[in-house]
Symmetry: C2
Subunit: 372 residues, 2 copies
């Protein structure tokens, strides 16, 4: 039986199902969500995912086959030009307000399709069928959708919840090992912020989780989603506690932007960002040495933390564009324990610069050592 | 004293002020709306409007001047590429979640800026300062924002209400006569749908209204907005009665698309669309001959109904993309009296084609007569 987690917010209520074999009855699962049997269905996916999973995806649809639209995945394609092209294709294929989009893929596909559903005819329905660890653990839940600007990641978007999320653990089997590891960094983040037990489980079971054990993966993904569902229920629009979910994302987004989104995977950039936040928290006396060590060790256990090349000043400058900033003041999420975090607004440019420089120095020393 | 009309919906509550001289204290009016005194303000406008009204617009802002962004107005610029360019400029100028956009211009500017505010950082605040009859009467109120696709007008967008609307009647003085007349067709529409008294007032006072008499204009605009506010309060998301506001828009949008948005003004296309809806209603026995005549006469009094060139089959095919269609069925708004309208779902392609052919034949006959 798959795990079911309910997400309840002021504007939406839906269920996230997590488990193996969900694709086998996807058609029935979707049909059970709505009362518009003649609604056109569109599946939007990437060529890579589709080549691996189309047979299993389509098997249950019988004579009500969804219309297929494909986009390239990768942050560089998460742009308004892609959205516009998809919207034109929806219109050409007769999509109307009753139509339902199915986002079948990783975080980029989920964010794009959710945003497309938010703006096509001012809002239509969609279903998330995430296929990556990142998307199953984090991005498919909570209604945040978006696209990138040249000026920064996810600077445009909308809050638009799916009708449901179906996370089929089986699809992780075809995920490259590096992507699985990077996605799991978001589960570590969930543990650090609010779930000490999840964090400990990930510390103790890294081998099983990383080898793709389905029970272990289902547990990690389910607990991450449960944590997120609770946070989103409390604060749908990110005016308070939801900001904690951005742990590691301020510097993480800056690293992604500075490296043109092509050196690191999202989860890898976030892991570096969590290390930076941890260092700031340690320096401020908010974390004990042993807590810092545990965070550091678990991030590296699910690594390796891939190196990248970027200038510390550029990274700090990029954080000035962070969406959490208000009226010019920088907001920063800091861990204050294992399972606890807080938002501060007084991280100075100098403090952030020093931390970033130390982070880069440590990375480069490790790199030199490895090459020696 | 300006007229104040409250708009109350499940998701927003705001006031529309209509009258002369509002720009003189715009800064104070906007400051009264929010509690973020350090919020950056951005005014987004067109070069034409700005060249005429920048002095009066800026006079009240003192040392908290808004940052100016300019876009060309015209339906051909109401595209995602314009939105993306504006969003990049917002980011470059440090716009954050506290920032407030001011849409200063006609319907295109209002729709674009509202949509931009809806998606920038997943939603920031904005104020409407409409400068055209069309925008003051109709498009600045109700929270519908959007942009065009190649496949059709307003096919992408969002529901996002402004903090307030300030309609300064003075700005209509620099509006070309043709635009004033076209905008007033939307007030006629408001009268036909739900306000017999407004319709009669427009029948009886065409000369004063068209000559720019401020009291007469304030009355027509205020009554149109009041009607729309009531409808939007009842049905914010256009699941029911709000659909009536689309009287004339099914064929109207098709005419605009078929003529590449460059032959007719929006209100002119809508007037043709209302004539078509009236003809269908008459043929179905839903309107008396004298009602048809009154509608026809008042539309022409605020005309002339500019001719256009388009093929009837193309127009009918374009209506298949109308946003009101559900699961493939065409929805159509028909007048059923002066001050009353209804939505039907059984207008056949043949019925619409015949009506459109008659409309074009009548237009061409008038044109031939004028050229004889």
């Amino acid at each position: 039986m798959p795990t079911q987690i309910d997400v309840r917010t002021p504007s939406a209520a839906y269920t996230v199902e997590i488990g193996a074999g969900l694709l086998a009855n996807l058609s029935e699962r979707i049909a059970a969500l709505h009362a518009t049997p003649r609604a056109k269905l569109f599946v939007i996916t990437s060529p890579v995912i589709w080549s691996q999973w189309s047979d299993r995806f389509l098997a249950s649809f019988g004579d009500h086959q969804p219309i297929l639209l494909q986009v390239l995945s990768g942050e560089q394609y998460k742009r308004m030009s892609t959205l516009e092209s998809l919207a034109e294709q929806l219109a050409q294929n007769g999509a109307d307000r009753d139509s339902i989009l199915i986002a079948f893929g990783g975080g980029v596909i989920g964010d794009l399709v959710g945003f497309l559903a938010a703006i096509y005819m001012r809002g239509i329905r969609y279903v998330q069928v995430p296929t990556t660890a990142l998307a199953q653990i984090d991005s498919s839940v909570g209604g945040k959708t978006g696209a990138n600007l040249a000026a920064g990641k996810n600077l445009i978007g909308a809050f638009h919840h799916p009708l449901a999320v179906f996370a089929d653990i089986d699809t992780l089997a075809t995920l490259p090992a590096r992507e699985l590891r990077a996605g799991l960094q978001e589960a570590i983040k969930a543990g650090i912020i609010r779930d000490h037990e999840l964090f400990s489980y990930m510390e103790d079971n890294a081998a099983a989780i990383l080898s793709g054990n389905k029970d272990a993966l289902t547990r990690v993904i389910s607990e991450s989603v449960r944590m997120k569902a609770n946070v989103v229920a409390e604060d749908e629009r990110e005016n308070g506690v939801r900001m904690l979910l951005n742990l590691g994302h301020t510097l993480g987004h800056a690293i992604e932007a500075a490296t043109d989104y092509n050196q690191l995977l999202h989860g890898e950039a976030i892991a570096w960002g969590i290390l930076a936040a941890t260092a700031i928290a340690q320096k401020r006396g908010l974390l004990t040495e042993s807590q810092v060590e545990r965070i550091d060790n678990v991030l590296r256990a699910y690594g390796p933390l891939e190196p990248f090349s970027a200038d510390a000043h550029v990274l700090v400058a990029l954080t000035a564009k962070d969406k959490k900033n208000r009226s010019g003041a920088r907001s920063y999420v800091l861990p204050v324990g294992i399972g606890d975090a807080t938002v501060v607004r007084d991280v100075s440019e100098a403090e952030l610069l020093e931390t970033t420089q130390n982070l880069l120095a440590g990375m480069n020393a490790t790199l030199a050592e490895a090459n020696a």
